[in-house]
C-alpha cells in the first residue's frame, strides 16, 4: 500500500493514465447501469439529432442515442483492444524469447514464418482469419491478435540476441543454471521495457483494426456498437453534417490510447530498478 502511494507520487502522469483506463473499464463493465438509453432502440424523429439535453452527444442516423452507444461500445472496443494486445504480445514475446535464445532451426523457421506474415497487411490477414472463423467477438480478438505476433516476436528476439551475449548470462551458465531457467530469470525480465512500449502502442491500432473488420461485416456482428465501427461508418458521410458522430468515438479511442501510453510509460519505469531512489 505504501509502495502504491510512493509510486503514485513519483509518477503522476502514470496515475492519470491509470485513472483514464479505470474509468473506461468501469464504464464498460457497468454499461447497462450507466447508459441513459437503450443503445439499440431507434427513433426516426431523432435521426441525426445534434447534442441536446436529451441526446447529450447527439444521435445517429437511426436516431439511437450516441452516448448510450458509446458506453456500450466500450465493452467491445476494450475487450478487443485488451484481449488482442495481451494475446498477441504474450504469444509474440514467448516466441521471440524462444527464437532468440534457442537459435538454430527453431529460430530459422519462426523468423521465416514471421516474415511471411509481416509481408501481408495486418488487415488482410485479419480478414482472412475472420472470414474463415466467422464473425464473433472471440474470433475478432483472435483475428486481430495473430497478426500482432510476428511484430512482437521480432522485436523481442532482437532484444534477446543482444541480452544473451551479456556476461551475466554467461555467469549464470558458469554456475550451472539450465537454459530454460536462464531464459526466464535472466533474459525475459530484461525484455519487459520494449514489450510494454510495444503493447501500449498496439492498443490503439487494435481498436482501429476492429473498426475496419466490423465495417466490412467481418467483425463484431451488427447491431452491437463498437467505437471503431461508429467512427468508420460515419466518417465519410457525416463529418460535415453531423460531426458529433465522428468526434466522440474518435475522442474515446484517443483517450484510451493516451491513457494506456501514460500508464505504460510509468509501468516501464517502475519495473526498472535503475529508475528507483
Amino acid at each position: 500500500m505504501t509502495d502504491a502511494l510512493y509510486y503514485a507520487r513519483r509518477y503522476p502522469l502514470g496515475v492519470i493514465g491509470a485513472l483514464i483506463l479505470i474509468v473506461f473499464v468501469l464504464t464498460a463493465i457497468f454499461a447497462g447501469v450507466v447508459a441513459p438509453m437503450d443503445p439499440l432502440t431507434t427513433n426516426a424523429r431523432a435521426s441525426l439529432a445534434p447534442p441536446s439535453h436529451i441526446y447529450w452527444i447527439g444521435a445517429d442516423m437511426m436516431g439511437r442515442d450516441m452516448l448510450s452507444r458509446m458506453i456500450h461500445g466500450a465493452r467491445i472496443s476494450l475487450a478487443v483492444a485488451l484481449g488482442a494486445t495481451c494475446i498477441g504480445s504474450g504469444l509474440g514475446a514467448m516466441l521471440g524469447l524462444a527464437s532468440g535464445y534457442l537459435g538454430g532451426w527453431f529460430d530459422l523457421i519462426v523468423q521465416r514464418i514471421a516474415e511471411i506474415m509481416q509481408s501481408l497487411p495486418l488487415l488482410v490477414m485479419a480478414l482472412v482469419i475472420t472470414a474463415s472463423l466467422g464473425p464473433s467477438l472471440t474470433n475478432t480478438i483472435i483475428a486481430i491478435a495473430i497478426p500482432l505476433i510476428p511484430n512482437v516476436a521480432r522485436v523481442i528476439r532482437a532484444n534477446v540476441l543482444s541480452l544473451r551475449e551479456l556476461n551475466y548470462v554467461e555467469a549464470a551458465r558458469a554456475i550451472g543454471m539450465g537454459r530454460t531457467r536462464i531464459a526466464l530469470v535472466h533474459i525475459f525480465p530484461n525484455t519487459l521495457a520494449p514489450l510494454i512500449v510495444l503493447a501500449t502502442a498496439q492498443l490503439g491500432s487494435t481498436i482501429l483494426t476492429e473498426a475496419s473488420l466490423s465495417f466490412l461485416g467481418l467483425g463484431v456482428p451488427e447491431p452491437y456498437p463498437s467505437w471503431g465501427r461508429m467512427l468508420s461508418e460515419s466518417a465519410a458521410e457525416y463529418i460535415h453534417s453531423a460531426p458529433w458522430l465522428v468526434i466522440f468515438p474518435g475522442l474515446a479511442i484517443s483517450m484510451v490510447v493516451f491513457g494506456a501510453n501514460l500508464f505504460g510509460d510509468a509501468l516501464r519505469d517502475i519495473l526498472d530498478p535503475r529508475q528507483g531512489d
Partner: protein, 319 residues
C-alpha cells in the same frame, strides 16, 4: 595438477558458403597446453584478440572446445555429460572483465550472490541468507548492501559482487578474465589484493588473464604469453621478467611504461598490427613483426620447446 590443459583448440567459422559449409576458420586458440597447480596463479598475457579470453571460456566449457583435453581434478571435462559438468561447475568459476554487464541489473546484489546456492539446491532460504552474508563480508562488502541493485554500486564494488558470486559454491579454481582492466587504478589494487588474500586463505588457483604486465607480475606465479592463438613463451614469473626469450615477450616488456620521464627508450620493437587469425602468416606467426626475423622464420613453424628446465619458448632463435 589441479588443471591440465592439453592441445586445446577452438576454431570459429569465419565465413560460411551457400549451404552452411564453412569456408574459412578463425583459429582463436590453436594448440594451447599448460597446467596449473593447487594454490598457484598462471598469468595469461597477450594483445586483445590473441585468444586468451577464449582459452578461459573453453576451460569452463562456456565455449565448447573444438579439440584438446581439459583435465580438472583428473577428469577430462571436454565431452562430459551435462549433469556431471554441472557438478564440476561448483569447483571452477569465472570473474569477468566488465563489472557492468556481468551483473543482471534487475537482481539485488544478495540474490545474485545467493543464486549459485539456489541453483545447486544448497541449504534453505534462511541458511542461504546467512551464507550470503558471510560471503559478502569475505569480499569486503557490507551485508546490509545485499538489498541494493547493481547500479547502486561502484565499479570496484560490482567486481567484488562478481567475485562473491564466483566464491559462493566454494570453488578451487577461478578464471579471472581481465578482472581489473575496467577499473580505476586505485581500485585495481584493492581488487587484486582481495584475489590474492582469497588465494592465501583458501588455496585457490587462478588463471589470470590480462594484457597488463604490471598486474600480471604482481599476482602470478607463472606466466604464459599468447600470440595469435598460441603460447609463445611460458615460464615462471621471475624468469620471464628477468630474462624474456621470445622477441614478442621482449616487445611487450619494453612497452610497459616506466615511472621515470628521464628514461628514453627505443620504441617500435614491434612493427604493424596483429595479423588476421583467419589468414595467418606462414612459418612463425610473428615473423612479419619481428625485428630479428631470419629466412627460416618465414617458412618453418617454431615448436614450443623447453630451452631450459621450466622455460618453454616458440622461437627458432631462443637458446
Amino acid at each position: 595438477m589441479l588443471l591440465d590443459v592439453t592441445d586445446l583448440r577452438k576454431t570459429f567459422p569465419a565465413r560460411t558458403g551457400l549451404f552452411g559449409n564453412v569456408i574459412d576458420h578463425v583459429h582463436a586458440v590453436d594448440g594451447v597446453s599448460f597446467s596449473i597447480a593447487e594454490g598457484r596463479t598462471l598469468g595469461l598475457v597477450g594483445e586483445s584478440g590473441c585468444g586468451k579470453s577464449t582459452v578461459g571460456r573453453a576451460i569452463l566449457r562456456l565455449i565448447e572446445p573444438s579439440s584438446g583435453a581439459v583435465r580438472f581434478e583428473g577428469n577430462d571435462i571436454v565431452g562430459l555429460p551435462a549433469d556431471r559438468m554441472r557438478e564440476l561447475r561448483r569447483r571452477m568459476q569465472i570473474v569477468f572483465q566488465d563489472p557492468y554487464s556481468s551483473l543482471n541489473p534487475r537482481k539485488r546484489a544478495g540474490d545474485i550472490v545467493a543464486e549459485p546456492l539456489l541453483v545447486h539446491g544448497i541449504a534453505n532460504a534462511a541458511e542461504r541468507r546467512e551464507m550470503t552474508q558471510a560471503i559478502f563480508a569475505k569480499v569486503g562488502l557490507q551485508p546490509r548492501q545485499m538489498g541494493l541493485f547493481p547500479h547502486q554500486f561502484s565499479g570496484g564494488q560490482r567486481q567484488r559482487i562478481s567475485i562473491a558470486r564466483a566464491l559462493a559454491l566454494g570453488p578451487r579454481f577461478i578464471v579471472a578474465d581481465e578482472p581489473v582492466s575496467a577499473l580505476d587504478v586505485s581500485v585495481q589494487a584493492q581488487v587484486i589484493n582481495l584475489l590474492m588474500d582469497l588465494q592465501a586463505r583458501d588455496g585457490l588457483s587462478y588463471l589470470f588473464i590480462s594484457h597488463n604486465l604490471a598486474v600480471v607480475e604482481h599476482v602470478s606465479h607463472d606466466v604464459a604469453v599468447m600470440y595469435l592463438g598460441r603460447i609463445v613463451e611460458h615460464t615462471t614469473k621471475s624468469t620471464i621478467f628477468a630474462r624474456p626469450l621470445h622477441p614478442y615477450t621482449r616487445a611487450l616488456m619494453a612497452a610497459v611504461p616506466v615511472a621515470d620521464p628521464s628514461v628514453r627508450r627505443d620504441k617500435a620493437h614491434v612493427m604493424g598490427d596483429v595479423p588476421s587469425p583467419i589468414d595467418r602468416p606462414k612459418g612463425c606467426h610473428f615473423h612479419p613483426r619481428c625485428p630479428l626475423a631470419e629466412p627460416r622464420c618465414r617458412t618453418e613453424e617454431p615448436k614450443l620447446r623447453e630451452v631450459q628446465p621450466g622455460h618453454r619458448v616458440a622461437c627458432h632463435l631462443a637458446v
